[in-house]
């Protein structure tokens, strides 16, 4: 059997590979090359410029401030969404009345269109008429309305990232829940007989076995937070208190029409995503078998 070249696996992966080459790698190759060119429709012609785009983009004060902000988004977002994702998945692990409805409820934040999410959370955080202020004041927790967004950097970034975490936690939960469903009940039964309590079972059975799910969830959260755009743009405008790398990519490309620099910044984001993801995946991911 093994002597001839086995064509079946290639047949199975070929549609996938064709898609990836034509519609993912080709566009990416285009931008990778363009990152080394001066592509400025307002300043033609397009010509090779070596590392100039990279040098210029890293001297852009807005890009520098967005780097720091994006770092905070990643730290807050990945931590919160992963912890919540594990928590939600464990809550949903066993059958109980209403579990189906709860899963449907869980995905709602993800299904809300970005524009509506923007008005919703603007209305919640707003410093003049916001719901949160309204509620806190009626509970006598604050004496006058507070400004949550735009003044204090950390508070602004935290408030914005909570919105993104609200949106991406459904994804983390589903990813982890799928893996959780695969853990045989016997393992828990056996542990219980050996005198293990719920906390110990969680630490010694659940956590090690859901690592592949967590790895995927963490990588997804890294990608999402590293590319955060809508939430800061809608909630805090272009201000450097909370601007993100993705917003700067957009501004450099579509506002300043300096596509070469935009591609250079994109390329840096891609490389950074890959490095972090590979490290994280290597660290968390471990093939499991039951």
């Amino acid at each position: 059997m093994k002597k001839r070249l086995d064509l079946l696996p290639y047949a199975l992966i070929s549609p996938l590979i064709i898609f990836i080459i034509l519609l993912a790698l080709t566009p990416a190759a285009f931008t990778t090359i363009a990152a080394f060119f001066r592509v400025q429709p307002l300043n033609p012609p397009t010509k090779f410029s070596g590392l100039e785009n990279f040098r210029d983009i890293l001297h852009n004060a807005d890009v520098i401030s967005s780097l720091g902000n994006t770092f905070l988004y990643i730290i807050i977002g990945v931590t919160l969404s992963t912890i919540l994702g594990i928590f939600f998945a464990v809550v949903l692990q066993r059958r109980f009345t209403g579990r189906s409805i709860l899963i449907a409820v869980l995905i709602l934040p993800w299904a809300l269109p970005g524009v509506v999410e923007g008005i919703l959370w603007t209305g919640i955080w707003d410093g003049n008429t916001g719901v949160l202020n309204s509620v806190l004041k009626s509970l006598h927790l604050i004496s006058h309305y507070q400004v949550f967004l735009g003044q204090n950097k950390i508070l602004t970034i935290l408030a914005i990232e909570i919105v993104q975490v609200w949106q991406i936690t459904p994804l983390s939960t589903i990813l982890i829940l799928a893996v959780l469903q695969n853990i045989p009940d016997d393992l828990y039964e056996a542990a219980k007989i050996d005198g293990s309590d719920a906390r110990k079972s969680f630490l010694h059975i659940t956590m090690p076995l859901i690592r592949p799910g967590i790895a995927i969830a963490v990588v997804q959260a890294i990608i999402a937070t590293l590319n955060i755009f809508d939430q800061p743009y809608i909630l805090n405008g272009a201000a450097s208190t909370a601007n993100s790398l993705a917003m700067e990519t957009y501004a450099v490309s579509f506002q300043n029409l300096n596509f070469g620099q935009g591609y250079a910044l994109s390329l840096l984001i891609t490389v950074f995503t890959l490095l972090v993801s590979v490290v994280v995946a290597k660290f968390i991911y471990k093939k499991v078998e039951y």
Partner: protein, 278 residues
């Protein structure tokens, strides 16, 4: 068995409900108010004079707006369902090969696919648009669907690969004893066992597609292909933003995935494997 104390569950259920539903409640609450009421301070925790005017404005009647909302709902449905179907089909086949077969270049191809997730949206937007224009797929369902499929295949493949890899080695052995071909093993054993992962992948792909904005904005030129998300954004006025109307559009946009999730989520948590395969 009940390894978790019901106190934990009660807290968890309460937390999930408040976490997801309080903000969503606010959207629903807003959709039954007028713009003037929405900006009242203190905010109205319930609609003071509940009105269906916003729902009527978007759904009932034969005006241009209602037509746009209806058409774009059909569009988004077609685009998301097709993209999900193709993505899950192709990803399952590829994941099976990656997870259960040895072949030259396995790691290379797998990494090549998964790494494309790292490309930021704005990196691929313009070249993708150029490619679609070249093959005359701008403003077609197929163009949008192919774009989605290429974008969501890597994650779908990774999820299914990871899941199929964790299935016990015994299944192939059992299959070969019965004289089944590998595709029969795939169809009769692996696919049913991977159902929770397949269902999860389908839900995830569908929701990713449902939330798309910038690609369909650029790839769809008119109402024949524009999905609901683009239309929801379009109804923002130039100078006056209709908060209540947009919230209503948000509720409409939520309801389809909510119903689908309700109908399909039993597959996510089907957990067929529990104790049945050693």
């Amino acid at each position: 068995m009940q390894p978790r104390k019901s106190g934990f569950r009660r807290f968890g259920v309460g937390f999930i409900l408040s976490w997801s539903l309080i903000p969503i409640y606010w959207v629903i609450n807003t959709s039954f108010q007028t713009d003037a009421q929405i900006s009242d301070t203190p905010s109205h925790l319930f609609p003071p004079t509940p009105t269906l005017a916003n729902y009527k404005a978007l759904l009932i009647g034969d005006g241009e707006l209602q037509h746009m909302v209806r058409r774009s709902t059909i569009n988004i449905f077609i685009e998301c369902i097709s993209a999900t179907f193709i993505t899950v089909t192709l990803a399952s086949l590829a994941a099976y090969a990656f997870a259960r077969m040895e072949f030259k270049g396995r790691k290379f191809f797998l990494f090549m696919v998964v790494m494309t997730m790292a490309f930021p949206t704005y990196t691929t937007l313009i070249p993708m648009y150029k490619i679609m224009a070249m093959v005359h797929l701008v403003n077609t369902y197929l163009g949008i669907i192919l774009c989605y499929v290429s974008g969501f295949l890597p994650l779908a493949t990774w999820i299914l690969f990871s899941y199929m890899q964790s299935l016990p080695a015994a299944i192939e052995e059992a299959g070969s004893v019965d004289g089944a071909s590998r595709m029969q093993v795939f169809r009769l054993i692996v696919l049913p066992l991977a159902m929770p992962a397949i269902a999860s992948t389908a839900v995830i792909t569908f929701l990713f597609a449902w939330a798309q904005f910038i690609f369909p904005l650029v790839l769809a030129s008119d109402e024949s292909t524009q999905p609901l998300t683009v239309i929801v954004a379009a109804i923002q006025g130039r100078h006056v933003v209709p908060y209540s109307l947009l919230s209503t559009a948000g509720v409409i946009a939520l309801s389809v995935p909510a119903v689908i999730a309700l109908l399909t989520n039993r597959f996510i948590v089907s957990g067929l494997i529990n104790g049945s395969v050693k």
